[in-house]
Amino acid sequence: MDINTRNIKVWSTIGSRATLGIAAVELAKEIDELMVLTCDVSTSAGLDRFRKTYPEKYLDLGIAEQNMIGVAAGLASENFNVVTTTFAPFQTMRCCEQIKVNLGYMSQKVCMVGIASGLALGTLGYTHCCIEDIGVLRSIPGIVIISPADSLETIKALNSAVRSSKPTYIRLTGGSNNPIVYDKDYNFEIGKSITLKEGEDVTIFASGASVFQSLEAAKILEKENLSCSVINMHTIKPLDTDAIKKACKSKLIATVEEHNIIGGLGSAVSEYKSTLSSSPKQVFFGINDTYSKGGNYKFLLNKHGLTAEKIVNDILINLKN
């Protein structure tokens, strides 16, 4: 794909969901036996162009996610390269046991894309918001979990996952006008975190749309004379443990994600950290194990302390105590 300033702006404006559709069209040109499966959400997943351009590579299973995963696994068992996509709760939890048996236990290589995960669909309530998907899937052996930081990283993640041999879940967060983290091309490797900013006092590990908020937080903290590392932990499983080991030199580690603080990136980081003989305190930014009242995306980010300002505030408090 042509990665240039103009395209990056366009992808950012349309958001990661619509970008997914563009990426799928490009992939289909190169990958002969690509199949894209969905459950009556082709428009939401940005797949209308794909559906028209490649009808033979497209399959709508209707509103039946369990069946979609089974069909995807059957196609994969015959070496088709399959991408499934629907809204994150239905892509992961509605068909969780099908994922366990077919993709986990049987290792059928399917790339699942959960659209509009996290808090982006806040006005629709928590049937459609998704704060549990990482926790649920992280407990299934063999499944790679990626949460791209912006629209360009969505393209990179899809490209890498489709070309890898492992079943993968790509978790898309953020809405349209998705802030740009990467304004030019860069090297993306599954399982290898990316240090976006180096600093000594605090290390922030973030994934998905929270990466941008974390970068903004680091800028504010700098004004308070605190130097911050910001690490894009785009792959939550397998976890880049070297990056965590390195971060233990900081005074404080923070994890930031649009996910329940139980089971997500924060849990993954702390699980590894607890195996080390000494490590700094960790602050968990995320949804504090609750279903709050709904509202628009910004309202919910603010409510759950996931904006740059709130992150700064909590980091300062924790550094003092």
């Binding site: 069946n67 069909v71 068992s77 070496n79 236990y105």
Partner: protein, 276 residues
Amino acid sequence: MKKNFEKIKIIEDFALNIRKNILEMALAAGASSSHFGGALSITEIISVLFADQMKIKKDNPKHESRDRFILSKGHACLAYYAALSEVGYISKEELKTFEKDDSNLLGHPVINRDIGIDFSNGSLGMGLALGIGVALALKKRKKDINVYVVLGDGECNEGSVWEAAMAAPNFKLNNLYAIIDKNNFQQTGSNKDIMDNPNLKEKWSSFGWNTKEVDGHNINELLSFFEEGRTIDKPKALIANTIKGKGFSFSENNNDWHHSVLTKSLYEKGLQELIK
């Protein structure tokens, strides 16, 4: 006519050997017990498929032109393993490792294409969706290969079975066969007592399948379903009326044998009944 007679004799012998192997494995399983009844109810179905209808290469379980088989009611794997042994993919010695530590042959099939097991099954309601994916892949490649999925009648309680049942006719999968083992029992009682699900033939027909109902232990009737199916341009469903525990006086229609321990004396009694 003579040819048909010979064919039936071959399938009958295959079924007899499956039942012998089931006895051996159930005995070897010992106290860990085995799903005995539901394996015996599909014995003729499995025999017609593996001894006659399915294209398989005896010297290569992974041959790409093989017909695909999915045991969606994975707990009935005693009959499946026995068939794979009759075909030559699993040795008689290995059969006796059934449910033993580190065995390839657990109480539900685990994917292992070296011995002819194409998929892992055991969680009910998942096999038909897999079958659709496989059938679609084969049609896309324009291969003349069929996909056979064996389901239980109890399994048809699962909503996911009906998601798949709805989808297959939409995709015009004339290479897909669903065989429903209607033995009228499920784990803790009769279908009627637990979750009555009557009129299966009408249900599958109304979902768009070409559906037939036969005696699931009658080899001729089973053969005619598959043979007629070759020219029908739809997915095919068979309601196979069977007897749970078929073949042994102590287990027929006795749901205690859903999952039970075969003692040495019952093993010997069973063997005697088979020889007669």
